[in-house]
Each structure stands twice: as C-alpha cells, then as structure tokens.
Amino acid sequence: MGRQNLLGSFEQMVLLAVRQVGEGAYAPAILERLQATMNRKVSRGAVYVTLDRLQQRGLLTSSSAPAEPGRGGRPRRHVQVTPEGIQQLEEVRAYLDSLWDGLDAVQED
C-alpha cells in the first residue's frame, strides 16, 4: 500500500489513550491516562502537538463541547479516533505482531 510513514509509538499511544478514555476524551484526560499507564511524566506540549498532527492526518476528529463555567468561556475540545485511525492502529499492530512472532519463547528462556 506504500504508506509513507507509519504511526510512531507515541502517536500510537495517544490514539490508544483516546480510545481508552472513550466518550468525551479531551487532552488533559488523555495526558493523565498516558502518565498513569507509563508511570512517568509526559510533556503536555507533546500530547497537544500529536493530537493536532493526528487530526491533520485525518486519524482524529475533534468537536467543540459547549463552554462550561470555570473555563472563562473557553471551549473544551473532544477528540475521537476516525475509522482511518482505527485501521492504521490495526495495521501497526499486525506488523508488530508478526515481528514478535516466535520471539516470546526465546525471551522466557
């Protein structure tokens, strides 16, 4: 299929975290999820930039949630993984799985 660039690992993690958070996923929640999973500090800027990049590549869509009290009238941006995004995640997973194939046993030795 000749895809130019495969999803990077951080991009995969972000996409997966978006799906993990599920309905109403937004940046701070995604960040929190990532930090909890990786058990280390994640750069806030990296998360935001990645979200925007994924969106530019059509792997994410975002929608504006109505302004809530306490945010000074600023909207909250909800993100959702697109079917294209899901497809790419699956593809990467398939590549990786095939690469991992047969290595688990060796590792456990």
């Binding site: 701070p28 806030r44 800027g45 935001y48 925007d52 990049r53 009290p69 306490g70 600023r74 909207p75």
Partner: protein, 890 residues
Amino acid sequence: MARTGASTAPGWCVGLLARCVPGRLSCESLLGDLEAHADELVDQRGVLAARAWLRWETLAVASRYARARLNGSLRSTPPSPHSSHLPDRHSFMNTLLQDVVYGIRSLRSTPGTTAALLFILVLGIGALVATFSLVEAALLSPLPYPAQERLVWAATTFEGYPNPVGSAPDWADYRERSSSFSEFGAVTPFFLPVTVVTEREPSRVKHAYATWNLFRTLGVEPVLGRWFTETEGELGTTVAMVSYRFWQEQLGGEADVIGESVRVDGEAHTLVGVMPPDFHFLLEVDVWRPMQMGGPFAGARRFHNWLMIGRLRDGVSLEQAQSDVDVISRDLQREYPDSNETKALALTPLAEAITGSVGPQLLLMMATAGLVLVVAGSNVASLLLARGSTRQAELAIRAALGASRSRIIRQLTIESLVLGMVAGVGGIVAASWLSGMMLRVIPLSVLGIEDLDMSIAAILFGLAVTVVISLLFGTAPALRVIPDRPSEALRSGRGSVGAGNQLRSGLVVAQVAVAVVLLIGSALLVRSFISLSGQRPGFSPQQLLSAEINLSGSQQESTDERRAFFDELATRLEALPGVEAVALATQLPIRNPGNNIGIWDADAPPDTVQKPLAYQRIVRAGYFAALQIPLVAGRTFDAGAGLDGEFELIISRDLAETLFPGEGAVGRRLMPDWGGDLVGLVVGVVEDVRVGALADADAPTFYANYVRSPERTMNIAIRTRGVPSAIVPELRAVLLDLDPTVPLGDIRTMEDLIADSIGQPRLMSIAMGLFSATALVLSLVGLYGILAQAVTQRRREFGLRVALGAERSNIVAIVLRSGMLRVGLGLAVGIPAALASTRLLEGFLFDVAPVDPIAFASVAVLLAAVGLIACLVPAVRALRVDPVISLRAE
C-alpha cells in the same frame, strides 16, 4: 468557581499560542485546559506558583508546536480553499496593526518595567525638549524687527576693549559721517524711573531716552501717532512716546490720546506715539523721551551712556561698514584727543550681541539635557536587552513559525516605537511645564521672553528625538537578541545572551562616564555657588530694610526743601523704637549698581587718557554706621556739617590704594570728573563694599556728603531691631504724615536682594545638580542591573566553585571586581572627558578653576563609593548561592 487573576493567561500567552497553534478550536481549548489546570494549582500550591506554572507551561507548549512546525511534522494552518500565496494588498496594514497591538500587549505584560522605562524617557525627553524650546526662542528665532539681519550693535572700544556704551556727541558724528548705515540710533541701556501724571492718576513708570531715530533704525512703526522727528532731537521740545501697555492701562487705550499732554517728572510732555504691544528692545520700558544734544546724558564726549545700533544700508557688508567707521574713529581721535585718543567702534550683528549672554548657558543646558537623555536611553537599551534574553524563546518561536528576520525586526521596531511614542508625548507635555522652570534658571527677559508656549518646532523636535531614541536604544539592541538559529535557541531553552551582555556592559561604562562628566560639572557649579555665597558684601545685610523715596512729583522743589524733608524723615524714623539706624544714599550697595565716573588727585592730574574710575555715591551722614561699613582711617561725615564748610569726600580702601599707593589718603584733595572745578578733601577711608552682585569684585567708590546736593530720588536703608518687614507700616505712616504725595518704592530687605543677586547661579547649580543626580542614579541602576543578571546567570558556576572548595569571599571578589572594573573604566573615560569639557563652564564659575582638583577628586570618590554599594547587593546575593540548589536546578 470564579476565575482568579492567577489562572487567567496574560495577553502575551494568548497571543503566543494564537500564533503557534493551528486552528482556533485547538488554541482556545488548549488555553481553557491550561487555565483550568492553573485554577486547580491555586488551591494546591498558591497563587504565585499557579501563575508561574501557567506562563512556563504556555512557553513550553508553544515551543513544542514551534519545533513541530519547524521540522515539518505539523502544517502551519489547516489548508483552506481561500488561501493564496499571492501577497495581499491589505496584509501590510493588517500585520502592521497586528504588530502595534502585539507591541502594546507585550509592553503591558511587564507593567513594572514599562513604567520604569516610560518614567526615565519622559524625564529625559522632557528636559531636552524644554531646553530646546528656550534655545529656539532665544537663538533660532530672529529678533522681532524687519530685516533684523542688517541690524548691528556698535560698541565703543577703548584700546580695543569693548565698553558697551558710547557718548552722545560720538553717536552724532558717526551718524553724520558714515555712509554705511541707512539709520544709526541709540538708547540708554538702563531705565530711569519717572513719575508720570496723566488725567487718571500719577504713576511711577520705567522710562528711557532714545535718539529720535531709534524706532526708525529698528524699523518698528508705532500703532498710533508717529515716530519722533529730527527737530524733536534738539533741546527745547518736550515730547514722549509710550508703550502699548502704558496706553492701555494709564491712558484708557483711547485713540485720541495723541497730542495730549502728560506730566513726566512734573514737566508737561506732548504724546506723539504709541508703540505696538509686542515691541520690546532690551528693557521693558513704558515711556521714551528723545535724546537731546546737551540734555540729559548727552553732554560731553567723555560721558558714555548710549547703546548704539545701526541698520546697514542694502548691499553694505559688516566688514565694509567696519572699515567705514574705522576711518571715522581715526578722524575723531585726531579731532578730540582729550576724550577719543584710544576710542574706536566695533560692529557686531545685533542678534549675536543680544543672545551672546544667554547663548552659552542655553547650549550648556541643552547639552546637559541631551547627555541625561543618552544615559536614560542607554538604560532603556539595557533593560530591553535584559528583557530580550528572556524573550529569546518567544522570538525563536516566532522565527520558527515562519516569521522572516525582517518581520521580526519590524515587530521589534514597532514595539520600541510604541514605547517611545508614549514617552515622547509625555515628554513634550512635561517639557511645556519644565520650560517655565527653565526660564527661571535662564531668564530671557532681555529678549522680551517672559513666557514660553510649546512651538510647532519644539514639538517636531520632540517627536524627532523620540524616533531617534527609539531606534537607537530600542531596536538596535533588540536586534542583538534575535536568535540566528532559532531551533538551537529553542532546544537549549535560552538564547545566546553573551552578545547582549557585552553590549550592556559597554553601555554601563558609557553611562558611568557620562555621569562622571555631569557630576564634575555640577560639583564645579556647586563649589562656585558656595564660594559666591560666602562672599562678604562689605556691609552687614542682616535686619536691613531698603526702599526708594522719590520726590519728583512732590512740592519739595529746591535742594533746601529736599534736604529738610529727608532730614526730618530720618530723624522721625530713628525715633521709632524698632529702628536702630537709618541710612540715605543715592545708590545702595547690591540694590543700585552702576554710575562710575573719573576721579583723580587734584594736585597731580593724570595725563588725558588714564583717568581712574570710581563709583560715586551721595550719602547722608550716618550712612556708614547704619550699614556697618568699617572705617579704615580718618573719620566719617559729621552729622552737623553745613554747606559752608569744606567739600568732604570719603573713599573706599580700594580707591585709596589706587590713587595713593603706599601713602595715607586722608587729607589729600580729589577732583571728581563733574566737569567743574569742585575739589573735595578726603576725610576718611572705609572698607570696600560690593557695588552690584556678590560676584563683582570690590569696586573703587567715593562718597560725598548729601548736604550739598540731595537728589530727588534717594534710597533708604533702615537697620531694624526686629524683623525688617515689621517696620513697613510705621515707615508708611511716617512718610504719609510728612507728604502724602511721596511714593514709597520697591521695599526689599537687603538679604532678599543679596539672595536674588545670586539666585541665578543658585538655580543653575540646582538644575545641573538635578541633571547629574539623575544621570548618576540611572547609571547605578544600569550597573546594578547587569551585575544582578550576571550573578543569576553564573549561579551554576558559583555553585560549582563553592562545591569545589572556593572561599565565599572569592565569589564576592569576583562580582565586585567585575562591577568595579566597569566603574573604573567609566571613570577612566569620564575624567579625561570632563577635563576636556569643563572649560565650557569657565564663564559660569566664580573663584573655582574648571579643573578644580577638589571637584574632580570628590566625584571620583563619590562614584567609587556608590558604585561599590551598587555592586555589593548582587555580590551578597552571589554569596547566598547554595551549591546544592544551584547545581540541581540545571
């Protein structure tokens, strides 16, 4: 929950993100997320921490976005069907407006720094524009006479030395014989108070004599009536011209006053003309009478009372006119060897002659104000550089986002222009107020300038200065902080601050040097003022009240009546319990300067040329006791002396030593140059007294007893027991009782008069002192600022040094050395500069050399001391550096 100030992103954060983050929703929601998080932090870690976090995190996120865009992993903006790569006609104005808004925003984001910069600049620009408006009024605007460039001042010279004034017969000869002038006039450069009685009321006004053609020479037409005519310049006619003000105030401003009769000092004069409202020549005069040959001040060739002004004929140059009058001078020298043997005439353009006295002062003030502005401007540059190093990240982001270098330069230029313009407008407003104060330091009344409005030229000058200052000190240093390779600047989180620091260091040295020059200048003026106010006037000015008493409008016509009046006045005043003594004299020291004539040894008349000059004072017996002028030899006037005795004179020590060096003066006979053969006997010698200002050297003086010739106008000095002004009501009562028509003029205490006489040097040294103190403070702020920043930047190094066992005192020494090195360099540049420039002050200094070692040394010591203090604060801060913390911070 209500949003607190701490969790609201400041304008620059919003602006920064708007530029970095593609898409409005992304940006707005990002801000919302950041602010919401900051809100939580307020509760957990406090307002300050939340505020700091918000700013820091914004920068961090923005720099992530910038790097993503730099390496192409993120597009700048979402593609839009309307986007075009062709330049938009409106985009220039749009981005310009953006830049202005952004500039204002970024200035508002640091209100403290901005306020400090504004204050410094407003003061600097205000001072410079204020002095400029004086310079403009005095030096750049031409004299208010038609074709004023053809007017020349003809100063009489003796053996080449100029004497401002010439004699009436000489004036007549030059006027008649010279072919270079279309008109040649003269005026008394002093005024003589006269009592003028109109139909309304008697008033005491300022009056001068002018040749019949003076106004023709100046080319100023009367608004009403006519000029004097040539025949009115001859003895016998009594006419007068008046000022517009006099016409309005005393004559009711009515058109039919021409031809009316007014009484001037008791004599009827026909009014022939009214001068225009803005007419002014040298003095504020209300009544002019024509010079009449053989009349007042226009007698012999040896009496010099007239300031002569010529109007050059068309096509005649100053040089041609000068050689023309030189020929006449040589003829006059031959014709009148008695009086004219060494006399000649020197021509100077009138504008130059009039402004010559104030020009150096004005230029000095303007140069000083300019230097202060340079120091202020370099402080601004220094502060901007300091700010610039923290703004490197921001600038790098902007470069990364595709802003071209020229765009960033434009942004920085606009930013400093925004700051500069606010300061410029403030400075011009401040100048309109400061120029009033400047006028008190440098009075321009000789030019008829009592009040100054900001002229268009001054406002334009202020704006031009503002632009230059903004570009020079705002943009130029800002260019130094534009990162060459933005990606590196971003990655390291800080830019290359080294270049900016070097520039700042150079600025500090320059500031210190300028401050040294200004401080030395003002130290010289202060020392000069101190030695001036330490001058003893030669009499005791404490508890001495003075006033003028004029009998010209009263019934006391004969000398006997006048003497009786003044004797009675003195006797009655002396009987008052508050009065210790009373002195009466034609002229009192300090109060009434001037009036010198020749006087010589009657038994050994000098050759025709070298006649010693002395001030003449006609005084009533008791004068020396009342003024407490010590007697050196002989005796003072006898109170009971009558008219029949010998004509007695008392002379000052100075005159005694001039006339009779090494011999006793008492008993010698002197002849004053009164034109007769009256010879006086010296009965006493008294101490020298300052005749005019305290700065004047002691002047040779002779005193005659007033019994022979009590003048119409006498000045009275009353030595009181208590506060001098307390005696005024009693003085008025006594005078009213004696003769209600006699006015009491210009009541002043002697101490006030002395303070006035040194008022201008005092204001001048205060003004210079303020200027140089400002420069000093500004340069110390600059020094402190750069050291404080250096200490912050070298914290890690200091930490390492301490960790590796360096003594803390070594650290202090490092900081002190680097600070004092700059102070030393500043002194090394400033002191030679001061040596070269203080000679400009020579004309303003009294009894102090322009290279006065005390002034130089004290400034050097002062600067070293305050410089040390400015260095100590950051040095102590460096001392507190905890190696563990500073190393961990990296």
